[in-house]
């Protein structure tokens, strides 16, 4: 394992399997009377959130607490315009406080990389701009493995605004690495023209793709992008690319429906589709805690030369 988790591209296929396996153990911990282990007692984990994301922050917070780490939440909802303390000064402060790990969510792509220049602890990317969201990809992989038992040859469609989606990037890179067959689906303005260089297929027709997949992964439509006129309207998007009740009928039996949340019901996914048994959004959330425990444990559980024998 690397010291940091910045991009899924830095994680080998072997390490992905290890992260998922250790997460399996933490799923078991989650079933105990006392859902907490002392594995990271005395360690400090900082959640540095420059973007509002209650879901991801709570998931990381719970993961760190279940490992008995001390958790500090450092949330600034300030936009880049209302600039306060610089990232560098914040980093140096956290460094001085002895943070062993910093979980960073930021609206600027690459901020976790920038952060590593000023801190000694591990940096975990909890979503940076339109770059990556590696922990989301790992929890999605965990969920897929749990439900379908394999990655090799698995056909996965990732549908929506791939161009601006950090989830789509991390998930595509991870799935391709694990041998899955990935198709990006969406309007041409929202799919990077060079995407085939990532080892994925591209389609602009969701109806043509749905009958041939094992997983339909829907991305959140970001309404704030509408200003830039990538699609004529959200309504047109929903009609052409939304997973409607009728379109679910095109999916093979046993195919999963996934979404990173929060969902826009009625836009990328019909409201009653989200509640179907093959839609596994709740499992994704539960698995998120175990995956983040696994990552914190693997990144912080070592960190010293010379192992000590035990008996």
């Amino acid at each position: 394992m690397n010291k940091h988790l910045l991009s899924i591209n830095d994680v080998s296929a072997e390490d992905i399997v290890r992260i998922l396996d250790v997460a399996e153990s933490f799923r078991e911990v989650g079933t105990r009377v006392i859902k907490k282990v002392p594995a990271l007692r005395g360690r400090t984990v900082v959640n540095l959130f420059y973007e509002n994301s209650t879901r991801t922050r709570i998931s990381f917070e719970l993961a760190a607490k279940r490992l008995s780490a001390d958790v500090i939440n450092f949330t600034t909802s300030g936009t880049s315009v209302a600039k306060g303390e610089s990232l560098k000064d914040t980093a140096l402060t956290l460094q001085a406080m002895g943070a062993d790990a910093i979980v960073i969510r930021h609206s600027s792509s690459g901020s976790p990389y920038t952060l590593t220049r000023w801190v000694r602890g591990s940096v975990l990317n909890a979503g940076d701009g339109t770059h990556e969201h590696p922990t989301q990809a790992l929890l999605d992989l965990y969920t897929i493995r749990e439900k379908l038992g394999r990655f090799e040859g698995l056909r996965v469609a990732i549908c929506g605004d791939v161009l601006h989606s950090r989830v789509a990037r991390s998930l595509s890179f991870a799935l391709v690495k694990m041998g899955a067959d990935v198709t990006l689906v969406g309007p041409p303005t929202l799919i990077p023209p060079d995407a085939p260089a990532w080892g994925v297929h591209v389609s602009f027709d969701i109806d043509e793709v749905l009958p041939k997949i094992d997983v339909c992964y829907l991305l959140r439509v970001q309404r704030e992008r509408q200003r830039q006129q990538y699609v004529p309207s959200v309504r047109e998007y929903a009609r052409l690319f939304g997973l409607t009740r009728e379109r679910v009928g095109l999916l093979p039996e046993g195919a999963l429906i996934m979404h990173p949340g929060p969902m826009n019901r009625g836009v990328e996914i019909d409201s009653d589709v989200a509640d179907l048994p093959q839609a596994v959004m709740e499992e994704q959330v539960t698995n998120g805690i175990a995956i983040r425990m696994s990552l914190l444990y693997l990144l912080l559980g070592g960190g010293s030369e010379g192992a000590v024998a035990d008996g």
Binding site: A39, L40, L300, D310
Partner: protein, 178 residues
């Protein structure tokens, strides 16, 4: 590197049988008894003990596996996060007599961690400890209730337990540390 065999297959079998008898003796039967083996080899020994108990007593006792990795006290003293094994205790331990089973008792730190882990699953009536080999050099006030073999060793030696389930043979070796 010197290696001396401490126990062979037959001796291990006899030790397991004797411990099974002692457990039943001490607890006056198999009632409210559960076995929890500490991963990895304690797990296999616990299953063997359960088979012996069933042979002697005709009663099947629940067997669980416990991984103590998350309870170790050497955080920050290791280069890599240690390997994690499966924990599987799919029965209620509240009010039960739990016999912890491990292959080798040494510093006592693993047993300390195992007891910490165990209480996160519930509140047993009592916890007892069974080990195949007690090699001394305790660092904590812990002793075994049932011992297969007491073996005085030097601190710089290793005691290696091989079991058919994982290693293809039954034997215990005392080895010079490389």
């Amino acid at each position: 590197m010197g290696s001396v065999r401490l126990l062979d297959g037959a001796e291990i079998r006899r030790a397991v049988t004797r411990i099974a008898h002692e457990i039943l003796e001490r607890n006056k039967g198999a009632q409210s008894l559960v076995l929890v083996g500490i991963a990895a080899r304690g797990d296999d020994l616990a299953r063997r003990l359960a088979e012996e108990i069933e042979r002697i007593e005709g009663a099947r006792v629940p067997v669980g596996a416990l991984d103590i990795t998350f309870y170790r006290d050497d955080i920050g003293m290791r280069a890599e996060a240690p390997e994690v094994h499966e924990t599987r205790i799919d029965f209620d331990i509240n009010g039960k007599t739990v016999v912890l089973v491990d292959d080798v008792l040494f510093s006592g730190r693993t047993i300390r961690a195992a007891m910490d882990a165990l209480v996160d699953f519930g509140r047993p009536a009592a916890i007892q400890l069974a080990v195949l080999v007690d090699r001394g050099h305790r660092e904590l006030p812990i002793r075994a209730d049932f011992v297969g073999k007491n073996a005085p060793t030097r601190k710089d030696e290793d005691v290696r337990v091989a079991l058919i389930e994982t290693d293809g043979e039954d034997a215990v070796y005392v080895e010079e540390r490389p």
